[in-house]
Amino acid sequence: MVLCGGYDPGFGNGKGVIIGPSGSNVNVAVVPSVVGVGETDLGMLSVGNLGRRSRRNVPDRVSFDGVTYLVGKGVSRYARPVQRMDFLRLTDGPELRALFYDVTFRLLGEGVHKIAFMVGLPVEIMADREHAKGVLRAMRGWMVGEHSFVVNDEEVSLEVADVRAMAQPAGAFFAWGLDDRGKWIRDRSDLRAPVAICDIGFNTLDLFVVEGGEVIGRFTGGDTAGMRRAAEQLITRVQGQCGVELSLHEADALARQKRPRLYTADGEADLRSLVNQALDSAAAGIVTFVERRWGNARQFAHVLFTGGGADILHDTLARQYPHGVVLPNTVTANAVGLARYAVRAFGRK
């Protein structure tokens, strides 16, 4: 039996959703896009952990082709994380594979599995047809086929039956309009009306508008102005003020904390004001980009905000676009919609 899935390979997190037959058993997995080469076994040093030991921050160990990669939360505690931000990162490479394998493992666990995936690509890639085709060709090249790998000592045998791609924010549109069986559940007029989606990811800011079954190019576009800008600014400010160098993902995690604090040689530093400055500046950049394309966005029947950044900038977005809606589960909305459309696209084959 072939399962239908959605895969959203974000720069912040790899998100995957699998939908079982007839819309049953929906599994969702989110794994931070942090990969490094190293070991989590600290030998006798591990014996020093007394009392309740939290495994929360121990990354997953993903092994294939004779190499073990650390993936997900806590990688920076054990290895130097790879921080590739270019779009070529999406085509192939051990980091992408390790992340994909870990997401699949978290969705389905050990054993033998067969899946067809709808993959989401950033609008900036999709807007250039030839580039997009090249990326899809490269992704299909390594994804379609049989894979054997081991995650945390558990063996997985995976056959990817098919891979197709669409723009990441299209996933949010389908998460909003389709149910888990791939059926349209909103009013039929919503399929004809102009619906705008703003997807604020870690590295990408995608604007996407559909109306009457077509993508409206005038209002659609992408930029690398996502939450990464806030993380980069925080890195610079923390480096200047505290002399500590943060990784992009560490800075992003701090920006999401209610009480961002950092231990330094000078003691515990309260980063609240630095985080607020970085977020304000990123929000200003995002709102400027959206305004340039959409104006006040009142020409759209529905305005949907999604992506991990939409949660953080909720208040700014609500002030600027009062008729806009921040979708529930912004981090996974794209992957959910990709999986729901996958049920339509692959289920009919």
């Binding site: 989110v30 929360r56 039929r188 079954g213 077509e214 991990g308 529930p328 912004t330 339509r344």
Partner: protein, 118 residues
């Protein structure tokens, strides 16, 4: 002067006790590894779903009270309408199918515009 209504931020603090709330503890713990915000969103969604379901149940209970009366009236109306509008009912069914087809066509058109072909 019109009174201004403001909605203040509400913070919920709930204690879950081992033994009494094991099911809830297990449910909440599944979000521990998730990114910031996923846990709150899931709790909000679950609360909303629960509220929606209990509202639906309440409405169903209300409707049960008048069910026999409603059924009697509807059966009489349907019997009378069927005898007079048999042809029109068939047309209505066809229109419903046509609307479904149109939705499917729009979705397919959108899908073929969105899915990237090699």
């Amino acid at each position: 002067m019109a009174r201004r209504t403001t909605t203040a931020l509400k913070t919920l603090k709930i204690r879950l006790y081992p033994g009494l709330d094991n099911d809830l503890i297990a449910w909440v713990e599944q979000f521990d590894d998730q990114p910031y915000g996923v846990k709150s969103q899931s709790i909000k969604n679950t609360l909303r779903q629960g509220i929606r379901e209990s509202t639906d149940q309440a409405m169903e209970t209300e409707s049960v009270l008048d069910l026999s009366e409603i059924r009697r009236v509807i059966e009489a109306s349907v019997a009378s309408a069927m005898s007079r509008f048999e042809g029109q009912l068939a047309v209505a069914a066809i229109t419903g199918n046509r609307e479904d087809d149109e939705t499917e066509d729009l979705l397919d058109a959108l899908g073929s515009a969105l899915i990237l072909d090699e």
